[in-house]
Amino acid sequence: MSEATLQAANVASGFEVEAVRADFPILHQQVHGKPLAYLDSAASAQRPAQVIDAMANYDRHDHANVHRGVHALSQRATEAFEGAREKLRRYINAASTREIIFTRGTTEAINLVAQSWGRANLGDGDEIVVTQMEHHANIVPWQMLCEQTGAALKVIPMTESGELDLDAARAVIGARTRLLAFGHVSNALGTINPVAELTALARSAGALVLLDGAQGMPHMRVDVEALDCDFYAFSGHKMFGPTGIGVLWGREALLKAMPPWQGGGDMILAVSFEKTTYNELPWKFEAGTPNIAGVVGLGAAVDYLEALDFAGAAAWEHSLLEYGTARLAEIDGLRIIGTAPRKAAVISFTLEGVHPHDIGTIVDHAGIAIRTGHHCAMPVMDYYGVPATARASFAFYNTREEIDRLAEALREAREVFA
């Protein structure tokens, strides 16, 4: 959804959270004798029955290898697989299914760009720009690429509120910049980054733009054309689909010019020992038998999100963020890490005198699942001078009551250590 819609969504809507919760079987269980409150969707979102059933039905009735057989099952599997690709194309408004490359997840999608586009195009004197708030998946592949090519990695710093410093960005992005790679939404802080401003800076420097969309897809409707980036990487399991499947979207002209990354079956048209002819897009980048059930599940997740009142869901989620921020801020000694004005439903925090790991255990005891640790964003932890934070992240299936229970459990944690 657009920024304007996100703002409008602040108004409470008629979103029926209980009806949505009924779609998610896993939510209806007891943990340590308490009803589960799953506040860790930024680590991995839960899956609706529609996704679970789609995968099970595929496994029960339609499974065979894709793009290979003339038999009925292989054709059904291929249709399900390629049908899901079309769903994803439509969902993110890509120009063509040739631009939808299935990967194992965001991490593999970013590695694909680094190893294919990067190794073919970068050398000494070239610069890749990332930001201080990146997930390790959007840092390490570029560091590896720099070692391989002699390119240098530059970093846009952030500010105390957890926003990117745009003035500094203007100084960091320059004539040597070949690629700007940044997170659409920060997993550790929740910050929604200013895509248009950053992309404009990259464009004026003649650089390409890659967006790590792992945390963008679950919280907003993404339109890759409107974002005007060159690559958008995301994971199925953050958007209510399965693990082990993700997508790299890239502009067709770029993907076409890029060399294959991994070699093997499915990515070739003809092989002899003298010469191999590579397959067309998107299969050129999909060596080996893919995660077919995962693709089917991801397609079902897209169906689910399209059928959902997405604007209502986003408004509900945003109201949870506001409610959670207010409730947590009331707790003595609690410090919220990441206070950008534009945030997705993620609250990172520390509690004075209680290590995040102990917070995690104590709230787990109350049936509440949150993430504790460095969130694969160690530079962010270094910036704030903390070894770790606790993080509650909300999806549209969460409730205010769950947030009340979290606040209560955090007060109990303070008491244990008082």
Binding site: H355, T361, T372, V416
Partner: protein, 147 residues
């Protein structure tokens, strides 16, 4: 399962006021322990005398209550032990933390209060990190990681 079994008074006390929380100047045995999952990082220093007894042992670093309390309790328990006795204690603690052995309160004293982690599999590493690190410091030193 009761939280009070994990966060016993001894643990809370040693977390709040860690004993032997300091550096020992070289020469001494030293090792670093890392738990990348939760960001725990601690240093263990250990000086063994001519009689092969641990004369002094200390630690520094940051971590959760379980890891800090475990390290603090450990430094108290190791001081004065002969190398072979320390090795035996490492084994006994490892057995207790992993649930292989029942805690022997008579033999372990305050250390038995660490037994609560057995009900929390994800926290066993917090309690055991300092012991692995001390083991390494007693041998050749270096970095110990729980991952």
């Amino acid at each position: 399962m009761d939280l009070a079994d994990l966060y016993r008074d001894v643990i809370i006390d040693h977390n709040r006021n860690p004993r032997n929380f300091r550096k020992i100047p070289p020469p001494c045995g030293h090792a670093e322990g890392l738990n990348p999952l939760c960001g725990d990082k601690l240093q263990v220093y250990l000086r063994v005398g001519a009689d092969d007894r641990i004369e002094d042992v200390s630690f520094e670093g940051s971590g959760c209550a379980i890891s800090v309390a475990s390290a603090s309790l450990m430094t108290e328990a190791l001081r004065g032990l002969e190398r072979a006795e320390a090795e035996a204690l490492f084994e006994r603690i490892h057995g207790m933390l992993t649930g292989r052995e029942e805690p022997d309160a008579a033999a372990l004293g305050k250390l038995a209060s660490l037994a609560g982690v057995r009900e929390y599999p994800s926290r066993v590493k917090c309690a055991s990190l300092c012991w692995h690190t001390a083991h390494s410091a007693l041998d050749e030193g270096g970095t110990v990681s729980t991952e």
